[in-house]
Symmetry: C2
Subunit: 280 residues, 2 copies
């Protein structure tokens, strides 16, 4: 991948880490960054995540060959509208949002007529937020899902995939809707459930929690505002995932109430075998 | 703590790790071990977790000053009956079971008249099982809950607590019932929920799961048979814990269906703030 100018919109954990990774691998000659707060832009320059900051998203994207949107999911559609007039026809716009249907629909509609849009979701993140938590290794070996549609420019898709591959990411393609259903199952629902497990605890019990509890609930420490956007946008898929989880929990409840040890063990064994098949 | 002879009944992860830790800290002059399988006893000797193996629990405890039962929870009451006739009046018996009411009731009744019984629960473990996974550091800095009753010999309680403290464990006391309620909340229910989250996944989705999912579901890889015993024994408390978690999940569902972003964010924030207050 050879890119002259990259613009990163949103300079939190993902945007900051992306700038660091691009610089380390020399994937661009110039990295322009935008965040609505000046102190964040200065912090990103200070950490070496961007070469220069711009006070508006339009200014940031003006000379960009590749624009990567790394803001919270909820504001991406509006941001696409804001930057569209400032793009050149050859500019490729992508994003790192954790939901894809709404964003890609907006991208095809708003960016499609004036430039190129490709939806991406690098499945990387952490409980800690902000530029201070950014690290150049965040994307290494993680999965990146691209979500092309019938409107997606094939050359732009290829460039975007080469870009993520150059960051040592593993690539896969899904439709935006498939993406949202799968991520609901493996990411959004587990987050909701971890939050519920924390919420139900009494203070005294929390003090006695061990490493298993901490592992199980670590994701619940994630930023409530970022996750609100994800849940609101993907709520129909999350409700479906939740209903499937609730069915299993009700099966457990029935087996507990019936004191049916064989049934409990059989259910636990299905889960244990499947989880053992994954890497730790 | 100065103990001549320790007997460890059950030589899996916990029993094996206990033997290694006792030996490393020179807390006993002789460690006798029992497991129903000879190959496990030989393996424990081979790993240095015990000095000698005995083919029956009675033989193993005959000269013991301290007996520590490390078998699955479900067989502990029966094992207490088996060893009772072989104990000396000064012998202290404790256990490492993850549930306490049933075990301590049996201990008070069966061991109380002939020796001393103190219930313990060192809150340490891992997904991996067996003597091959044993390590001498398993108990370091972990919490150990002792569960004395009105029948507990105070000197024996003190000796048992000194023993766990000598393994660098942090100590706390709870009644057996309090213990079972708290552990239901922070350990048994999270295990059940992690299992449900794994069970509801489609194969294709599992392949895309990232580190967050793996953290959240790691405990579900635990041994189904061991956990069956825990759930059967503590089922009433687990049902109560489950109902509280289900109430929070239903609140989430209602908020999702109402597209109530403020409510979702407020709930996530409670969880996030509480989880951030814990160490990672």
């Amino acid at each position: 991948v050879e890119i002259q100018n990259v613009a990163i919109l949103g300079l939190g954990l993902l945007g900051g880490s992306l700038g660091l990774a691009i610089r380390q691998r020399k994937l661009a000659t110039n990295i322009v960054g935008w965040s609505h707060r000046e102190i964040t832009r200065l912090g990103a320059i200070d950490r070496g995540a961007i070469d220069e900051g711009q006070p508006t998203p339009q200014d940031a994207v003006r000379n960009a060959d590749l624009v990567i949107i790394c803001t919270p999911v909820g504001i991406i559609p509006k941001l696409l509208e804001q930057i569209a007039p400032a793009l050149r026809p050859t500019t490729i716009v992508t994003d790192v949002g954790s939901t894809k249907h709404t964003i890609v629909t907006a991208g095809d509609k708003v960016i499609g007529p004036v430039a190129k849009f490709v939806g991406s979701h690098p499945v990387a993140g952490a409980e800690k937020q902000g530029i201070s938590a950014a690290r150049e290794t965040l994307f290494d070996n993680a999965l990146c899902i691209t979500t092309p549609t019938q409107h997606t420019d094939q050359a732009a898709l290829k460039t975007v995939e080469q870009f993520w591959a150059a960051l040592s990411m593993r690539l896969t393609r899904l439709s935006p809707t498939e993406h949202d259903h799968i991520l609901s199952d493996i990411s959004h629902l587990p987050h909701l459930i971890a939050a519920a497990v924390v919420m139900m605890q009494e203070e005294r019990a929390l003090k006695m929690a061990g490493s298993g509890f901490k592992d199980t609930t670590r994701i619940a420490a994630g930023d409530a505002g970022l996750w609100r956007d994800i849940f609101v946008d993907n709520r129909f898929a999350v409700i479906r995932s939740l209903d499937r989880a609730l069915a299993h929990l009700r099966d457990f409840r029935t087996a507990l109430q019936a004191n049916d040890g064989n049934k409990i063990e059989a259910m636990l064994k299905v889960a244990s075998d499947r989880r053992k098949d994954m890497s730790s």
